[in-house]
């Protein structure tokens, strides 16, 4: 037992060490991310001192880009399942060796989610009130308590699956099926649950007609399953470029079909929503009007949502055209989908829910510089985590970091 523990610690310490070692491109990239992280920390320190008044939020629009990014990133985390399902259910060979990169992205995305929720709290010092057993956990009534459980559970599941498989590969040992296959299947259901619960967070509010609609959940999943794999397509090409890890074009094209299907469904659901809102013409259309065409002279979100729609439609058309089989066009398409969905789901979903207020007042929201710096800092932190995970995982998968070349072995 003690030797097993010691072996594991050697593995962990070698992983940590290799994260600090790389060529100049690696140092430059990590240095850049660190600078953004520090800027974010600095901005957050200012927010801690002066309060959330440093953000653009108000009593009228009480959630902003923090929660918008949180929502988007829960989707990215959930989207790892779109690589897991082909591999573990349909036995897809091309994606088999790549699925772990999707799962590691999920881990990084969840870490970003947790950071975004934390910076949104007015009293982060009281986080312990949320810990079941220690604080007062309003479960099952509050959807936020569900979110705490599903997000942390998903983080643990993915950490276990990735960690176990990598440690087995490091030891050149065949992983024991019982030790990870059940967790993989739990994680598939769990992935759907994290995004559904996040949707229910909004859907459950009867006083906000813009959110109180059954389509939010399905839309969340569809857009996540488009934006997530699109992000993975880009990440895999970066991995392929900076390492010589074998990633076939075929694998990227398999992911393309996933983005394609999800994007078609996403646009279809959007059309459903727009029709329902505008055709019936009841008074609850105000938020949608504000979002799409502006309301009583207020139209801060109009350029954003039309950019999102243009990007989504362009992305969808490129995806169905054979043109996007070329990697250059596929990359353009992926960027269009990611940006389009980020706007649509972030600012396009969170902010209009607050405009107009339940008492009919219109107050607009736009993020402040300090708020934006915090967001950039968290994104940099997430990319930093993902880069470190890859820096550890790639040599292990290639066998260059293994027990066989441990000192004295």
């Amino acid at each position: 037992m003690i030797t097993a523990l010691r072996n594991y610690l050697v593995f962990v310490s070698r992983c940590v060490r290799i994260a600090f070692v790389g060529d100049w491109r690696y140092y430059a990239w990590m240095g850049l991310l660190t600078v953004f992280c520090l800027l974010g920390i600095n901005a957050y320190a200012r927010q801690l001192v002066h309060g959330l008044v440093m953000t653009g939020m108000s009593d009228e629009v009480s959630w902003g880009v923090y929660i918008a990014n949180f929502t988007f990133l829960v989707g990215v985390a959930a989207a790892a399942v779109m690589m897991v399902i082909p591999v573990y259910i349909y036995r897809n060979e091309e994606l088999h060796d790549l699925v772990i990169f999707g799962e590691l992205l999920a881990v990084a995305a969840i870490l970003m989610c947790l950071a975004f929720v934390t910076v949104d709290l007015g009293r982060p010092d009281r986080f312990w009130h949320l810990i079941p057993g220690l604080g007062q956990f309003n479960f099952p009534a509050s959807m936020l308590s569900w979110d705490v459980i599903v997000l942390n559970g998903y983080l643990l599941l993915n950490l276990h699956i990735c960690g176990y498989l990598l440690y087995c590969r490091y030891q050149n040992k065949k992983p024991s099926k019982w030790f990870y296959i059940p967790f993989v299947f739990i994680a598939i259901v769990w992935a759907v649950s994290i995004h559904t619960v996040t949707a229910f967070l909004y859907v459950g509010l009867g006083g906000r007609p813009f959110w109180n609609t059954a389509i939010v959940g399905p839309r969340f999943l569809a857009s996540a399953f488009a934006a997530g794999p699109a992000l993975i397509i880009l990440a895999l090409q970066v991995i392929r470029r900076v390492t010589n890890y074998r990633i076939t074009d075929q694998a990227l094209l398999t992911l393309r079909s996933i983005v394609q299907g999800a994007m078609l469904i996403n646009v279809f659901l959007l059309i459903n929503e727009v029709f329902k809102e505008f055709y019936s013409g009841n008074l609850h259309v105000a938020s949608s009007k504000y979002l799409f065409v502006g309301l009583h002279g207020y139209h801060a979100l109009v350029p954003w949502i039309w950019t999102a729609i243009a990007f989504n439609l362009a992305g969808m058309f490129l995806l169905v055209l054979p043109l996007s089989r070329s990697l250059k066009w596929l990359n353009v398409t992926c960027v269009l989908c990611i940006v389009g969905i980020w706007i649509e789901k972030g600012m396009g979903l969170v902010v209009p829910g607050f405009v107009p207020t339940p008492l009919g007042e219109i107050v607009e929201y736009s993020p402040t510089l300090n708020e934006t710096l915090i967001c950039l800092g968290i994104w940099a932190f997430g990319l930093l985590c993902y880069t470190v995970f890859l820096r550890m995982a790639v040599p292990i998968l290639q066998g260059t970091l293994s027990k066989a070349n441990e000192p004295g072995a």
């Binding site: 709290l121 906000r208 009919g360």
Partner: protein, 335 residues
């Protein structure tokens, strides 16, 4: 059990990395020679020192962070779990803090709900003249922040013939009220019997008391603002920054769940002036209303005004009744 190899010795891991057969895929540019190690160590030390310096610099604003929390406040238990002795200590701490911050000797009480009491509010829309005296009486009574100014009551001006709140004017600024062609609808916490804000709070920091008042434990709220998103009446307010109250404006008659001063980062809202109403007085807004539009009382007492109104008025409504929140706040009309 896993196969145990020889445990690694200190310092060996580095060497091993550099001894590895060169692999074009690997990005490690390590110097195998002794001199290179020294240079690397130097670079590492420089990087570590400048990293720590940069981190310290980025954290510099925290130097201004005064009185964010104390150990006593950090460790404080949930309201419902405090024993009477612990409650005494907490109340004494709050009195101490108020005196230190505002130079005022305050009395902070933990007033409990009384048996056989169900508070109900009734507002006569026909009588309300839109003078906003209630708004300001509330601010003064409840130690609300003056800068930025927080108000629990919002008076809406609506055109005749519509209850569509989107037609409401929130910031009417009339020389004289009432204005022709309009009526006024003051909105504050509706003290719902089925409060959505209570349901969504992840930490039970807000709950409904036996007398029907929905309260907040300001020392337990984590400031996620989910309740603010859930409230269909826009009745909740968040302290986006440190509340500021001039010393001479402090109301020293305070209650733990009521009007004691709040801190930055927590929610607050109308609590039917529980520091007054649980001590047998009317809420400040009722007392100040010059039109007699506001009525308040125990609906279980058949002789109360509110019981009379609910029994005898032909028309009374709950705001957004269709949401099923079942407010204890009724709007009625005279004929």
């Amino acid at each position: 059990m896993l196969h145990a190899g020889r445990p690694a010795q200190k310092g060996e891991v580095d060497r091993m990395e550099s001894q590895r057969p060169s692999n074009p895929s690997d990005q490690t540019n390590e110097q195998p020679s002794g001199g290179g190690m020294n240079r690397r160590q130097f670079l590492q030390a420089t990087a570590a020192v400048s990293g720590i310096a940069a981190l310290a610099a980025s954290l510099a604003p925290l130097g201004e962070l005064k009185d964010f929390t104390t150990l006593e406040r950090f460790m404080q238990k949930y309201y419902k779990e405090l024993t009477p002795a612990e409650m005494e200590k907490v109340l004494a701490r709050i009195e101490r803090e108020v005196e230190k911050e505002y130079g005022v000797k305050a009395k902070v009480r933990d007033l409990k709900a009384k048996d056989g009491v169900q508070f109900v509010y009734a507002l006569n829309v026909t009588r309300c003249i839109g003078c906003r005296k209630c708004v300001h009486a509330c601010v003064a009574e409840n130690n609300l922040s003056r800068n930025p100014e927080i108000q629990y009551i919002r008076v809406l001006r609506l055109p005749h013939g519509s209850l569509d709140l989107e037609k409401a004017e929130h910031h009417y600024d009339a020389e004289k009220v009432p204005e022709k062609g309009y009526f006024y609808l003051p909105v504050q916490c509706q003290q719902c019997a089925k409060p959505p804000c209570v349901k969504v709070c992840p930490v039970h920091a807000t709950w409904q008391e036996p007398d029907g008042i929905t309260v907040i434990d300001y020392d337990w709220c984590i400031g996620c603002r989910y309740c603010e998103a859930a409230c269909p009446y826009w009745a909740r307010r968040f302290n986006f920054t440190k509340p500021h109250i001039p010393k001479d404006k402090i109301n020293p008659d305070m209650a733990y769940l009521g009007n004691r001063p709040r801190r930055m980062g927590v929610m607050e809202k109308c609590h039917f002036c529980l520091q007054r109403t649980r001590a047998g007085r009317y809420p400040a807004c009722v007392e100040v209303c010059p039109a007699g539009a506001r009525k308040f009382g125990n609906v279980l007492d058949p002789n109360s005004e509110v019981a009379y109104i609910l029994k005898n008025k032909r028309v009374f409504i709950q705001l957004k009744e269709e949401l099923g929140t079942s407010p204890r706040f009724f709007f009625y009309f005279d004929v």
